[in-house]
Subunit: 261 residues, 4 copies
């Protein structure tokens, strides 16, 4: 079964900064999609902030098994109703892979329920990612560790909830560490945060990073049919109770009334 991936990028640095444009002439989204499409089991397309609805209509999300998200300087420009839509899609079963500075994106903060903050330094220093969950599907084909010679530093504390699994922890030349690969589940949706990918370095051309992204697409894809309304809170009336009970005592709701939200 083909995994349908949509790679979303704010696509701003590439338009405004000659350096970023030269590193990613196809845009960060283009490079990531190209990396994913090297796996014949994946069909990756792209969407950007500038498109109507940021390219993320209900229909597009319904056709997306896994969304990748890259954002940085334009987090605030992402429309709240699109964020709602993305969260809803995750809860219904869409996978979502957040990359690098997406730690401060609206959907990540919304899905984590926490500040998602960290410390940072842009010095092109060495990052070494250590696998902490050997033989995890996201680390398939890798072993031990891999290095990125030039990366932005992200340091702990990383303001996220305890993850389901810690898959990578990074070492930085300047002395910091960072939990750089974390899994979560929200509703029926699998979420992976993966740290690398500063816009001024060619990180998304790195073979190990590309491998992790391909693995993450496979891991995050949930083959189950989407949940139609992941926030539904159905009333189960007394006469439909699975065990015979009689209504007792006072009640607030009229029969057939919907619950409060």
């Amino acid at each position: 079964m083909t995994i349908r991936v949509t790679v979303w990028n704010e696509n701003v640095h590439e338009q405004k900064n000659r350096l970023v444009a030269s590193v990613y002439p196809e845009g960060i989204h283009g490079t990531i999609a190209e990396a994913l499409n090297e796996d014949p089991a994946i069909r990756a397309t792209t969407a950007t902030l500038q498109e109507p609805e940021h390219g993320l209509t209900d229909d597009r999300l319904a056709q997306t098994d896994v969304l990748f998200w890259w954002g940085h300087c334009a987090h605030g420009e992402v429309a709240d109703h699109v964020v709602d839509r993305v969260c809803n899609a995750v809860w219904s079963g869409m996978g979502l892979v957040f990359l690098h500075s997406a730690h401060f994106s609206k959907p990540f903060k919304r899905l984590m329920g926490s500040p998602c903050n960290l410390t940072w330094r842009e010095a092109g220093e060495r990052e070494r990612l250590w696998i902490t969950a050997p033989n995890h599907p996201i680390t398939a084909g890798l072993s031990g560790h891999f290095e990125l010679e030039h990366e932005e530093m992200y340091g702990e504390p990383f303001g996220v909830p305890e993850p389901l699994e810690t898959v990578f922890v990074s070492w930085f030349a300047g002395g910091e560490v960072f939990r750089s690969g974390l899994t979560y589940r929200r509703g029926a949706g699998n979420i992976f945060y993966f740290r690398p990918g500063h816009e001024t370095y060619p990180t998304y051309f790195d073979a190990n990073v590309r491998r992790v992204m391909v693995n993450a697409a496979h891991w995050a894809a949930n083959p189950a049919a989407r949940i139609a309304d992941p926030s539904a809170a159905p009333n189960v009336p007394v006469h439909e109770a699975l065990e015979p009970i009689e209504e007792r005592g006072p009640r607030l709701h009229e029969a057939g009334e919907a619950g409060y939200r």
Copy 2:
């Protein structure tokens, strides 16, 4: 050290429904505060939706070690900027105990990052809460299980993230189960969800429920000083790096520039 608790209640049913008013003549908030104040180590006060800023100013939250939250029919009337403030206080270290229908409150949904939905039935049926984490601080003084003869049913699936700990699981006469006591941590804040407390039953007069609430106040209180800005993402400049590094390669940010949010 005294634990300063603020019991927040939307306080709407008590004003509009004669039955609820007769069960909780002091308001649900009043009864809960009274229960907590039976412990000399706790000083509980109340706040309600109707007060300016819903009674939850920055100053009030700064003076609150643990907030209790009860809401049901007026979730939508809670101002978003107050919700932001409450979440920020949690991240900085305030404890937060969500009761019953607060599962659909704005702060709970925001802090969980998930739908927080469930199934429900208002039939006054028997609920039996089983302790699943023996000797957990929240279960102090209890053992095995306790019963509430008349409660609203909440059924699984409960749309929340995997908790840190599952403390209670409920059995319902009509055939459902529910994870009715769950712990979380968001930033420096301890969060406890506790299921019982439908407005038409005298649940908050029950000795076991009161005991759990007192225990939860103790458990959720974080004696550490509050984190001033829990979302701060400080830059660590090259010359302040803990290990000697030299800046290498291109960069996007000017020296001293703040990060994007």
Copy 3:
């Protein structure tokens, strides 16, 4: 890729108790293997306590992607060196599905590191299993809940560590609840505990139970190559350090010496 399953059963009740023999004429292991083999992607065989090495040689385990374990009255007869071998296989990547009374088996207790105790009653009462993790791979093809009209009761507290995920919670007619589907990871091995399956009831002929077991086999299988020595603790000598360091200060170990265990 075919998933190679070995279904292990102590196979004692079937030999000694006419009732159990009549319910499971092929043995519990035979029935489970037959259920799994209905999925063309699975090739299930069996092994029992009575075989040399209980049928679980190193070679057999190396050829097993997922082991299923059923035991009850003969836990104490399982040889400790076989238990070591099974745990080692799990750590190296073999999946392991523990069924019902295997909660007290040696491998389960060893892998959990906890008492694994519970309460129980053999009264043929109704069990209703509620899905608490919608769209989890282990629940594929199921929705909401399913019932077993006659089952042994297992009640909380269940003496296990907090799981990675709670997949099922059971309701029992006599008033108890139980976390009846739990996932864990130990080393590279995926572990699933699944509650139903008392030997005097035809539980393993139930379509929903069989579906869960097939799903669990798929979920637990780890396609990665086995880790050769999952307990290896290699020394990384100074001259092979990834960053240039000089040895400083005193040391206890001679160069090339192995660590203590």
Copy 4:
């Protein structure tokens, strides 16, 4: 309430190695106990491998709120029945803090259910411990990070189950990282693993390390009364069921019979 701590040490290096003896003239156990006793709320005593029953009788464990464990070259000499006793005490509510090379001690491996392996290098290199759980009780009085100028390196992957909380992650000069502060709960017992403390360096004289150990003693102490038999699996007979049920169908056990273990 005074927290009664027993600091256990194999006490072998101190007897055989002049260097270790000179760093820890009172033994590692003596130094740790002295550090803990600086807190008036703690009363720490010591026990060693050489004492009868290794100093860990049932009575001694019953009088211990929190056990600290340091071992390295003599893991194999710890008697299995003492290990059973220690695990049982943890399950009944005793706290247990494992230090450094205790990662390979029998009780730690037993309680984790996993290999507990890692990589290592004895080069006196710099370790920097980063707090990943700000305002956690175990980090009280600390902020950000602290350094140990000379330590043994431990590197990932650390073969332990996903923890309840990751409290510290270490950076090493030679290029590795390690999750150096992890919490677990097994039965009613709180467990903390804390990495630093190689025998040839004066780590347990470091003010920050001592602070963490004091904090850990407070965190791990469970004020609840010990569970008498933490492995008990009581039968709940039909006539004592909480809901009226009738026995149905066949059963294996005679009335009043104990369950199998």
